[in-house]
């Protein structure tokens, strides 16, 4: 019910930030995530950063999924 995409903050300017999503950049507001800093991964929704992304957790999930390659069958 709420499309949101991960993005990386590449520039901060007061309450506005430039974020990068796979090379595409946009201005977003940091009003809802004031402590975010350059280099953070954040979740973007409707032009706002709404949450920071925990990189360690993200990696952990990815690693778990990777380990399951062995289950690949020609489905």
């Amino acid at each position: 019910m709420c499309l949101a995409v991960p993005a990386k903050i590449i520039e901060c300017n007061g309450f506005m930030a430039t974020v990068d999503i796979s090379g595409v950049t946009r201005q977003v507001s940091l009003m809802l995530l004031p402590e975010a800093v350059v280099g953070d991964y954040v979740l973007i929704h409707a032009g706002f950063a709404i949450q920071s992304i925990d990189e360690e957790e993200a990696l952990r999930t990815l690693e778990l999924f990777k380990e399951l390659e062995q289950y690949a069958s020609n489905s």
Partner: protein
């Protein structure tokens, strides 16, 4: 750093196998969130699950649960002179009692589609002689962005920006659902992005009071498969816990800054949901201090006549009681091109997703 095709396929196969292994009896799992509904269809997840695992859509499409009265009000505003309606694309095609914003636009109403509520402030600045009304629709995830926009409007001393608010909170709707006798749900995929704002607390009652397992879930195909898998494990073990599949984003405390801004601008109120009626404490209204930004306070309209579409079973669909195909209109006189109900219009509407992705129209055999 993404997964290879093989890694993705492997993980999917693992979760599918797990789910199938655990699916020893028929279970109904509700994906509360419309984004989950779409993700499930887009990834063809239904085809991968055993027939005993039924996925049903819930009330998590904000467009779908917004009743006609709201749309009729927005349409009435769009017909006022010197008025600009600003909306997310989602709302454009939704039918009200007798028209839609799209139809009004095609007749000349000034209706602008934006990606961010902040864009309405730019429009308000550029059109000082017009009333600029933002259609604030959405759940916990979206409501803080509208609240922040109101604060920003105040900061900029804009006098021509208004909000027509229909924000809603998901947990009260889940409580209403769970307390209804006809509801049969064995587990919930909880909406990862509302939880991102609200934190876990508001959802704990699902597992604790109603003993239904629940998993806060992300939106990638593998997130969803893992979420279903985590539910199946609980169901098999007879447990009912609130688990978090979406750890990288969803945190127990949610987003405190966003919640503060939300509470600064809005206070809880009862709200009408399509299919549910009025649910106490499920809505958000602008606080009196921000009344000057409240379209309905600042720009009162004459009373409007509103009615719901005849024969549309959106309500039952939204409560997870029927699948869209069970509606006699589905795919016949209700299609995305000529929708009867909102659920056939919203991209995340259950009827629209069923139709678009072929459920009930198509059988790959």
């Amino acid at each position: 750093m993404r997964l290879t095709a093989e890694q993705t396929a492997g993980a999917a196969a693992f979760f599918t196998a797990t789910i199938t292994r655990l699916a020893t009896r028929p279970v109904r799992i509700m994906e509360v969130c419309g984004s989950h509904t779409v993700a499930i269809f887009r990834n063809g997840i239904r085809q991968l699950l055993p027939p005993t695992v039924e996925l049903v859509s819930g009330p998590g499409c904000p467009v779908c649960v917004t009743p006609n009265e709201y749309l009729d009000t927005a349409i009435a505003y769009s017909r006022c002179p010197d008025t600009v309606i600003v909306t997310f694309g989602d709302m454009l095609k939704v039918p009200g009692s007798a028209s839609s914003l799209q139809a009004e636009k095609s007749r000349g109403a000034d209706i602008r589609i934006v990606y961010s509520p902040l864009d309405s402030l730019t429009i308000a600045r550029e059109n000082p002689d017009k009333h600029v009304i933002f259609l604030a629709v959405g759940f916990e995830t979206t409501a803080p962005t509208a609240a922040a926009t109101v604060l920003e409007a105040k900061q900029q001393r804009l006098k021509n920006f208004f909000v027509l608010s229909a924000h809603k909170l998901v947990p009260p709707a889940l409580r209403t659902l769970l307390s209804a006798s006809e509801t049969k749900v064995d587990g919930f995929l909880l909406p990862g992005h509302t939880v991102t704002i609200s934190g876990f607390e508001p959802y704990r009652f699902v597992a604790e009071e109603y003993q239904v397992p629940a998993v806060v879930t992300g939106f990638e195909a593998l997130d969803i498969l893992q979420g279903v898998s985590l539910l199946m494990e609980q169901i098999a073990a007879g447990k009912a816990e609130l688990l978090n599949q979406y750890r990288r984003v969803a945190k127990p405390e949610g987003n405190p800054a966003a919640l503060r801004i939300l509470q600064e601008v809005y206070s809880p109120a009862s709200a009408a949901w399509r299919g549910f009626g009025v649910i106490e404490g499920s809505g958000l209204k602008l606080k009196p201090e921000y009344g000057e930004y409240d379209a309905q306070t600042a720009l009162p309209l004459p009373e409007i006549v509103t009615n719901e579409p005849v024969g549309c079973r959106c309500g039952e669909v939204l409560r997870g009681n029927i699948i869209p195909e069970a509606c006699p209109h589905f795919g016949r006189n209700c299609t995305p091109e000529q929708p009867v109900g909102a659920c056939m219009v919203s991209v995340e509407g259950a009827c629209a997703a069923w139709y678009k992705y072929g459920q009930g129209r198509w059988n790959y055999a």
